[in-house]
Symmetry: C3
Subunit: 331 residues, 3 copies
C-alpha cells in the first residue's frame, strides 16, 4: 500500500507535508479517507470526500459530508494524541474508520446537538476501538478492517433507542425474523450495472451514480486492478442477491453489494497476492459475503440497526485467518 | 485420537489408501465422519453415515443423508485445495464440520436448487471457517470443535429469512423471550433411556433410536470409554432438563441432550486425562452445558434459529481454556 | 493492588491467616469481596458484605446477601480445587465474580430450590469462566474484569425463560427496540448526588444510600483516589444520561451509573498511571461507557435480560487494549 503519486504535483505535495505539520495532518486525513478502500493516496482521499459531498448534497443531507470530514479530523487527531505507531498513522490507518463513523451517524439520525455530540465522541473513540482491535488481531497478522467503525456506530445506533435526545430518521423498524415476501419486478442489464455502481458508493452511505463514478475514478488513479475488483465484487454480489430472490429495491439501492465491494479487493489483491487460485478463493469469499449480508440483515433487523460493512469484515477475517498456506502479503 | 484398527481388514484398507489417492480421499472423508464424535476411524465414520441414512430415510428426508455425504466430500476436497497441514487433514479434522453442515441445512430448508447451492457453498466455506477458528484457538492450545459448523449453518439459516428462494420447513418461529409454560406429563425409566439415546443421534439431526444404537456401536468399536461417556452425558442432560421442568416433548426428541453427548467425552477423556477429579470437572461441564442450552434456546429463539451444538462448544472452550493445571492431553 | 493494612489489627490478622488454613480461606473470600472494586483488602471486603446485607434486608430480600456470601465461598473453594496460581488466588482474584453471581441471581429470580441450585452451579462455574477469560486476555496483558460474572449470570437469566422451575421476579419484559418516550420531571442537585451514590451501590445490585456510603467508606480506607474516581465516574455518567434525556427513574435508581463507577477507577488509576493525559483518556472512557450502557439497554432489552456491568467491561477492554503507548501498570 505505497503511494504511487510520482507526478511532479505529487512530489511537491509530499515535500510540503514534510516541512509543515499542518499540511502533514491534512495529508494524513486525506490518506485516511483513501484507506476506506485500501488506498494510501491523498488524491484518492480528496476525490472520495468530493464524491461524498456530491451525493450528500444531492440527497439534501450535507451533514453526511460535514460529518465525514469532521470525524476524519478528530479520529486522526486522536491518533496523534495517543502516540500511535507513526508509520501506520502516516498512511492513514487511524482515519478511515472515522470517515465512516462521521458519514454513518448523520445518515440515520437527525442533525441536532445530541447527534453532533455523539459524532464527536464516536469519532474520537473509533480510534481507540481501532487500536484495540488492531492490537488483538495483530497476533494473527490479520487487519482490523472497518469493523471498528461498525462496532462504534452500532453502539451509537442502539443508544438512539435509549436516549430521546437522539432523533432517529433512517433506521429500520426492529422486527422479528419472518418468512420473506417473494421478490417481483424486472431487473435488466442497465439496472444490473447501476446497482453494481451504487454498491460502490454505498460503502460511504451514498446512493448516487455520479458519486459512484468519482469513487471508482479515485480508485483507478491509484490501483486499476483494485478498482476492477471492487466493481466486479459489487456485480457478483448483485447477481447472487438476484439469484436468491432478494428484494429488488434494496438491490438497486446498492444495499446487497457494498460489503462485497470491499471483500473482493481485500481478498483478491490487497492482503493476498492475485494468483488464479487466489481469485477463486476471492470469488468464494465474495459469495459468502452475500450470505453473511443476508444473515446479518435478519439478525440486525431484530435490533432495528443496519449491518454496516460487518459482512465484509467477518468474511475478510475468516478468509485471511484461514489462510496460512497461500502467499499472503504483509498487512 | 489414533486409529486402533489393528484387524487384518484394517491393515489391508490402510495399505490400499497409501497406494491410491482416491481411496485415501475416501478414507479421509470417512475419518471426517468419525471425527464428529472425536473418532479417527474410517469404520466409525462409515457406520455414522449408515446411521444418518437410516434415520433420514425413515423420516422421509433422504436429502439429509445425501447432504451429509456431499458436504463431507466437498469440505474435505477444499482442505486438499488450500494445502492444509497434511497430518491434521489425514485424520479427518477438516471433514467433520462439513458432515454437520450437510446434514443440518436440509433438516431445516426444503430441498430445492437454492438449498443445494447454499449447501455446496456452506460445505466449502465450513473448511475456511474451521481453518480460521483453529488458527485463532491454537494460541491457547484449544480445539475448534464443531463451532465452525454452528457459525456457518447459522449464517445459512438466518439468510433463509432474507432470501425467498430458500424455503423454510423446519425452523422455529422467531419469538421474544417469555415466561415458559409449566411442563406436564410423565417421564418413566423407559422414556429416560430412550431420550438419552435419541440425544446421541440428534448430534447428527437424527431422531431415531435405531440410528442412535448404530452411532453408539460405531463409537464402541473405537473407544468404549468415550461411548459410555457420550451416553452418560446425554443421560445427565436429560435428568437436568427434567429437574428444571423443561418441555418433555423436546426432552424426548433429544433436543436437551445432544450438546452434552459431546461435552462429556470432550472434557472426560478426549482433551483431558480421565482422573477422578477430571470426571467431577466433566460432570460440572455437562450440567453447565445444559444451562447454556437453556440460555441459547431463549436467545436463538429470538432469531428463529436452532442452537446447533453451540452449547457444547462454548462449554468445551470454557472448561478447556480454564484448565492449565490438570493434566491435559495434546489437542 | 497491595493491601495497605499496616495497623496492628491488620498485622495480627495477617499472621493469623498464615497459621490457619481456615482463616486464610476466609481472608481470601473477603479479599475477593474487596476485588469487586479492585481493593485487595479484607476489611474493604467485610464492609462490602455488610453494605450488601444492609441494602438487601432493607429491601426485604436477605437472599441477595446470603447468595453473595455463599457464592464467594463456593467460587473461592473452586479456585483452590483446580490449583490456580496461588498468588492471584490469595489476593481474591477468583472470588469477586462469584460475589456478583451470588448477589445477582436472587435479585431477579425467586428464592426457590431451583434458584439455589443455579446459584451453586453458577458460582462454581464463575471461577471456570474467570480462568478461561483471564487465560485468553493474558496474551494482551488485559484483565478479565467482571465479564465472567456477566456471562455466567446472562446464561442463568436466559435459562430462566426455558426452565419453568426458575421463577422470574425482576427481569424486564423482552421488547423490540423502539423510539423512546421523552423524559419528564425535574432533577435537582440533591437528586444528582443521590443518583451518583446509588450508582455505587448498584455495582452490587443494591439500591440504598446508606449501603452506598458504606461501600464508599470501604473504598476510602484502602484508596482515597480510587474512591473519588468511583464517585466521580458515577456522577459523570448521571450527567451524561441526563443530557441525552434518559429515563429519570432509572437514573435515580443508579442504573445509568453503575458501570461508570467501575470504568473510572479502572482506567483512571488501577490499570494505568493517573496522569493528566490519562485522566482525559479516563473521562472519554467514562462517557463512552454510558453510550455502551444505552446501546446494551436496547440490545439486552430485546432478550429480557439486564446488561449487568458489561458496559464497564467492554469499555475497559477497549481502552486497555488500545493503550500500549501510555504508561500502563502491571495487571
Amino acid at each position: 500500500m505505497e503511494a504511487t503519486m510520482n507526478q511532479p504535483a505529487g512530489n511537491a505535495w509530499r515535500r510540503a507535508t514534510e516541512r509543515n505539520w499542518f499540511l502533514e495532518y491534512i495529508d494524513v486525513c486525506l490518506r485516511g479517507s483513501g484507506q476506506v478502500i485500501f488506498m494510501d493516496n491523498p488524491l484518492t482521499g480528496l476525490l472520495n470526500f468530493i464524491a461524498i459531498f456530491w451525493g450528500a448534497c444531492a440527497a439534501g443531507m450535507p451533514q453526511v459530508g460535514i460529518g465525514a470530514v469532521l470525524a476524519t479530523l478528530l479520529s486522526t487527531a486522536t491518533a496523534y494524541a495517543v502516540n500511535v505507531d507513526r508509520d501506520k498513522l502516516k498512511i492513514g490507518l487511524y482515519g478511515f474508520n472515522g470517515v465512516l463513523v462521521g458519514a454513518g451517524i448523520p445518515t440515520f439520525l437527525a442533525p441536532n446537538a445530541a447527534m453532533w455530540a455523539f459524532l464527536v465522541v464516536g469519532s474520537i473513540v473509533s480510534t481507540v476501538v481501532m487500536l484495540a482491535m488492531a492490537n488483538v488481531l495483530a497476533k494473527w497478522n490479520c487487519p482490523a478492517g472497518t469493523f471498528p467503525f461498525c462496532v462504534t456506530t452500532w453502539f451509537v445506533m442502539l443508544a438512539a433507542y435509549a436516549f430521546p435526545a437522539l432523533s432517529i430518521t433512517g433506521l429500520p423498524h426492529a422486527a422479528l425474523a419472518h418468512v420473506p415476501a417473494a421478490a417481483s419486478g424486472a431487473f435488466g442489464a442497465f439496472e444490473f450495472v447501476r446497482a453494481s455502481l451504487i454498491s460502490v458508493s454505498q460503502v460511504w452511505f451514498i446512493n448516487n451514480p455520479i458519486s459512484a463514478i468519482i469513487f471508482l475514478f479515485a480508485l483507478v488513479i491509484e490501483d486499476r486492478w483494485c478498482a476492477a475488483l471492487a466493481f466486479l465484487g459489487g456485480a457478483v454480489a448483485v447477481g447472487t442477491a438476484l439469484i436468491f430472490g432478494a428484494n429488488m429495491g434494496a438491490i438497486s439501492d446498492g444495499l446487497w453489494g457494498f460489503s462485497a465491494v470491499l471483500t473482493a479487493p481485500a481478498i483478491g489483491c490487497i492482503f493476498m497476492k492475485p494468483t488464479p487460485k487466489g481469485l477463486l478463493y476471492c470469488f468464494i469469499a465474495v459469495v459468502f459475503t452475500v450470505f453473511i449480508q443476508a444473515a446479518l440483515n435478519t439478525a440486525c433487523g431484530s435490533f432495528g440497526i443496519p449491518t454496516f460493512t460487518t459482512p465484509f469484515n467477518w468474511a475478510m477475517y475468516l478468509f485471511v485467518l484461514a489462510n496460512r498456506n497461500f502467499e499472503k502479503k504483509g498487512v
